[in-house]
Subunit: 411 residues, 2 copies
């Protein structure tokens, strides 16, 4: 009688994550210098310290007139003594006069407020004002109004962006505003993606009505490729590898040459049909982890030369969940979670940490996707995130729970 | 005495938005057929109806044994009568036997549960079982366990994706799972982006320490270009146009030839220094709207030939806010807002709808960015969204408010 397979204890997610990140600890990411214009989505590998003040000096946030509030008196017209455009610089403001000023133009020394032109009545140039134009101010301005102060946005010497930060539109605008034309960023990870399984068919190869019994379309590959690209990876698609040991070894050996990560969505199981496990073991090392989460239990990490091998289970939603784990590991940031109200009950506690597919409702709470079984890609289209429910915990209607938004993960 | 400029009433945001979308009502977006593999971020222009069931038949979600629950009895070994791999199809299950089965493989007719191999003890082939192997089942399975049902994910004839939907990784996986190798999507909008303002300097052109008084780096351009690309646009960067009428007319005329949208981040004001307004009016038509939102009041929409002209104010955060308006209009979806608790007070109501820059805190509430003045690009880096506060409304500590996440907008 053969012995049953050894049953390892399920590993809590945070323990597995720490182990996975440990495998990356020895690796200093290669970096490259790219144009700030092309750095969206890249991971910053330098600190960005501002060498200037933003704005560089006090300036007007309106088209209008710069003046001294103390010069105003009811019915009194004030001479326009100068005109300051954006990019120009003003002279000290003569007492009892105003400066015509435009949005972004520097506040002249002596002025302490800007009045919008819509709040003034213009008086044409006349002898009465020494041949100059004048204005009547129709409102009572407050000191400091419509003035953007020097350094209000960024102070000289302040670190505006940190290394390890993922760059988005606002960060790029910030880098540009302090004069950075190029940024040092991590090189894109080169990821080889392949699927295994003789039941898999590529869309377009066979029409739905001619699909053989048991055949299914390869959807994981489309899902993962776009996820990987959103994460800033260069993706090489190796296609579907036949369910044979030699073909699997050849595919892995080739992929390991020129990639940082090899990802299989076919899963790594202890099943007899699975050639991934012996193939990775023949070429390098492999750890198989049973993780105490639901869905998404099986997970594999190995090394083939310098390349990391990651085995995701074949099931679409499980791939998504374990992929998030990897995603989180690489970015080294916590999941963007928030506390929201469950508008459902989850009375059956599981010994594993559970990821429940949910959607936010108009009342600010969370609705549960009716079918939480593992094979439901539709839930990811239907829903907008998941509840991260700790092991052995039930949820009562109205409880506050940890919610993670899909869109925030992908942004 | 000259008359003051006519002061138009401020337009509520939803009214302005309706008007802006009205300008797009006559336009049927051009479409193109792209590979599903390359369709991430594109807007779907067709309905996707499933021509098959997903999964195609009941199948196993585990490696193990398929059996009839009613065949089980304590201590009774069951013969392994067949072996079903993924992609194969099983024969009807003989009474009193089990089928060796692998993840994804079809459940044989007659079986009503799968038992994980870890829950079985294997008995080698022997005379006692007619020369076949057998197993002892060490658990009491429930009917239906580890079986994914036919059509559980997608039912034949069900519309899995709708026209007008923005495609993401999950939607692409869904399209692939029903066999779609190509998808009809809207053609990418061709957007020309330019800035105006003699005070603007491109990063890299002048070092921070050599910046002239009043000069500032052009940051809007970097911000907007990456936002536009994330929205699926083809962006042409026309650079900084000099503050001269003839140069502005020439730039607009050229851009209108080959673009759907011309976007200027320099703003359109009623100021004397601004040449955009007369340039657009010379070439086409222009509407200038004062919108009752704060920040982000000035907004311009015009037509030059077939191209739409959009004028965003020069101020970075204001651009961001009014840009969201455009973003929302094109996508024809509501902002992804949620109801969250304000962990701050906002005691001064404004007559305009306000957008308050905030960040979510660990307690599930919202913290307010200390400086809400309009020129603060840092707030967008610091914060993770904004509160959409209706006109004339104060916020008390603990009030529920409408929150919009930046990351969700950009995903």
């Amino acid at each position: 009688m053969s012995t049953p397979p050894v049953r390892k204890p399920l590993l809590p997610l945070d323990v597995a994550l720490t182990q996975l990140l440990g495998a990356l600890a020895d690796r200093v990411p290669a970096t490259e210098l790219v144009s700030t214009f092309d750095a969206d989505g890249r991971v910053l590998a330098q600190e960005v310290v501002s060498a200037l003040q933003v704005p560089p000096q006090d300036n007007s946030s309106m088209d209008g007139y710069a003046l001294r509030v103390s010069d105003l008196a009811a019915g009194l017209a004030l001479t326009v003594s100068q005109r300051i455009a954006a990019g120009a610089s003003g002279a000290p403001l003569e007492a009892g006069t105003v400066a015509r000023i435009f949005t972004g133009a520097p506040i002249p020394p002596g002025a302490d407020a800007v009045v919008m032109q819509e709040d003034c009545t213009e008086v044409p140039a006349s002898e009465a004002f020494g041949g100059r134009a004048a204005i009547l101010v129709n409102v009572q301005p407050q000191s400091g109004q419509w003035i953007r102060c020097q350094g209000e946005d960024v102070t000289l010497g302040h670190a505006v962006l940190r290394a390890g930060q993922r760059l988005g539109p606002a960060a790029l605008g910030m880098a540009a505003s302090v004069g950075m034309a190029q940024l040092q960023v991590a090189r894109r990870p080169r990821v080889a993606l392949f699927s295994t399984g003789d039941e898999l068919v590529m869309p377009g190869q066979v029409a739905p009505e001619h699909m053989a019994p048991g055949a299914i379309y390869n959807s994981n590959r489309f899902f993962l490729a776009s996820l990987l690209r959103r994460m800033g990876c260069d993706v090489t698609d190796l296609g579907i590898v036949p369910d044979q040991l030699d073909a699997t070894v050849a595919a892995l050996r080739g992929a390991a040459q020129a990639h940082d990560v090899i990802l299989t969505s076919g899963g790594v199981s202890v099943g007899e049909e699975d050639h991934i496990k012996p193939a990775v073991q023949a070429l390098g090392t492999l750890d198989l982890w049973q993780i105490a989460i639901k869905p998404g239990k099986p997970f594999a990490h190995g090394r083939i030369g310098a390349a990391h091998f990651i085995g995701l289970p074949g099931n679409p939603v499980s791939s998504f969940m374990t992929f998030l784990l990897r995603l989180q590991g690489v970015a080294d940031v916590a999941l963007p979670q928030q506390t929201l109200r469950a508008d459902f009950a989850w009375p059956r506690a599981d010994k594993r940490q559970e990821f429940l597919r949910v959607r936010r409702n108009a009342a600010g709470g969370l609705d549960l996707f009716p079918n939480q079984s593992s094979g439901v890609l539709s839930s990811t289209v239907w829903g907008d995130g998941f509840v991260d429910n700790p092991a052995s915990q039930t949820i009562a209607l109205g409880d506050l729970v940890r919610f993670v938004s899909f869109k925030e993960l992908l942004a």
